[in-house]
Amino acid sequence: MSATTPERVYAELTKGIWRENPIFVQVLGMCPTLAVTNSVMNAIAMGVATFFVLVGSSLLVSLLRRLIPREVRISTYIIIIATFVTLADSALEALVPAVHKELGAFIALIVVNCLILGRQEAFASRNPPLLALADAIGMGLGFCIALLCLGGTREILGAGSFLGVSLFGPNFEPWVIMVLPPGGFLMLGAVLLLFAVLRQRKRRPKEVGA
């Protein structure tokens, strides 16, 4: 099951980006996805923090996988994840205090992001460190890409800017709803629809492509 060949590592690395994308395909980790993607900067900060926590805890869980007793594995994962979240929290507070303030409790809530816990239970605890690392990097990248898609469209429509740079000039009429929580739901639904259509077209090019 866990033969570490280069092909296998590559497969684990790429699956999270598209085929098993944590947000667009698995629909995991919806809480940060909906809550903090109202601007590109917030999306990047949340994506990077989650990426760091996911990669760190996957590696550690994989290294410790033979030592963790089955009965208490979930609580052990949580402690490992919480350690990395604390690191990420402090790092963000020191480096980008403004963004840290805006993200607020959502940084601490990375602990309960089901994407991270899911990867530990489903993958890192059953595979050697190199594969776990590849899986975590792929999933983390997929998560970042998805957050950027949402954050980008919501900031462009909701504020007329990208990363704070105004795109349309002063006469832009912002779509207020896009930076509010309903905008997150609407945009996520639209993006999920788009990806479902793309996947369907890929699978049955003749039937659907009308």
Binding site: F172, E173, I177, L180, L186, A210
Partner: protein
């Protein structure tokens, strides 16, 4: 459904049909809305026509785009998309940029109807979904009411209609307040005669109470919709606001003002009666209407917004499946206990 070599004809219920098809019903409603559209053009000039065209274009475009993905294909022929666009446009202010009206029609149809599975499956009135979206996305535009022109300025189109996509409209020089806005924020009532004849500011289709009333009565007699729903809404608003008015007539508006102002009549006749999103049982129709009426009065008198018809109808749309379930008529011959 026939068996027995033509001697015994077995047929499943229903046995009595009225022969009404969806396209015919939609056409009847659109014709029934004709006078309201004409009144809108009389009061607001060509701007009204342009906004209506933009709303219909948005709705039809979305119906076509999303209909392609459905197994049965787009259902443009039944006219429901056109009706949705028209109803939406008639609830918009005359000075709204056309791109917003188009967007509202498209979002209303895509989100309110296609995403739910098409005509007959939608939970919320698509036109109101579109309007709620515009209200949430562009609150400032939907609270800017440009004043009426007169018949001489029919061809003068409001400059704000032509704001470029994604840009906000130029400030309208003759912006004014609706009767409900005046009542809410300045405690100033409007003449009943002005409300009846439509000589006030407001959404395209809502200003002229008399035209809507006449169209509503004719459509109810032709049984285009269930007369119980508008009757129940108006009756509830009348009763509740009379009670409130009798308690303190200096603070609260008179019941006739409540009935004739804002979008109440338009909403009661053209939106609450949507057969897909309102209860099908007679008792359910009364409950539905009473709920809408109570919420309208609550929002208007004690809420933050001057007008609440849109949210009242949307909220009761959400309650419709439940109302249908509790208001099922008792089958003939069954005891009350068994139900």
């Amino acid at each position: 459904m026939t068996t027995g070599q033509g001697r015994l004809l077995l047929q499943a219920a229903p046995f009595l049909r009225r022969g009404i098809t969806t396209p015919r019903l939609m056409t009847e409603v659109i014709i029934g809305m004709g006078p309201v559209m004409l009144a809108a053009m009389y009061f607001f000039g060509l701007s009204a026509l342009l906004v209506m065209l933009a709303g219909v274009a948005g709705a039809v475009a979305a119906e076509w785009a999303f209909g392609k993905a459905r197994p049965r294909g787009a259902s443009l022929r039944d006219g429901s998309a056109i009706l949705t666009g028209l109803v939406l446009a008639l609830t918009l202010p005359p000075g709204i940029p056309l791109w917003m009206a188009f967007l509202g029609g498209a979002v209303g149809l895509a989100l309110g109807k296609s995403a739910m599975g098409g005509l007959g499956q939608n939970m919320f009135n698509p036109a109101l979904v579109g309007r709620a979206f515009i209200q949430a996305a562009f609150p400032s535009v939907l609270t800017t009411w440009s004043a009426q022109g007169n018949i001489n300025s029919f061809f003068t189109i409001r400059a704000s209609n032509f704001a470029l996509p994604f840009m906000h409209p130029a400030a309208d020089a003759v912006a004014t307040a609706t009767p409900l806005g005046l009542m809410k924020f300045e405690r100033q009532s409007t003449d009943l005669l002005h409300l009846l004849l439509g000589n006030t500011a407001g959404s395209l289709g809502e200003t002229c109470a008399l035209v809507i009333l006449i169209c509503g009565v004719i459509m109810a007699i032709r049984r285009v919709f269930d007369w119980r729903i508008p009757a129940s809404i108006l009756l509830t608003v009348a009763v509740v606001s009379t009670i409130v008015w009798l308690v303190d007539s200096s603070r609260y508006p008179a019941p006739w003002f409540m009935l004739c102002s804002g979008g109440l009549l338009f909403g009661a006749v053209y939106m609450a009666t949507d057969p897909v999103t309102s209860p099908i049982t007679p008792r359910g129709a009364w409950i539905f209407g009473a709920g809408v009426g109570v919420i309208v009065v609550l929002i208007r008198l004690w809420g933050g917004l001057p007008e609440g018809v849109m949210y009242a109808i949307l909220l009761m749309n959400a309650a419709t499946p439940l109302i249908d379930r509790v208001s099922q008529p008792r089958p003939f011959g069954r005891g009350r206990v068994a139900a």
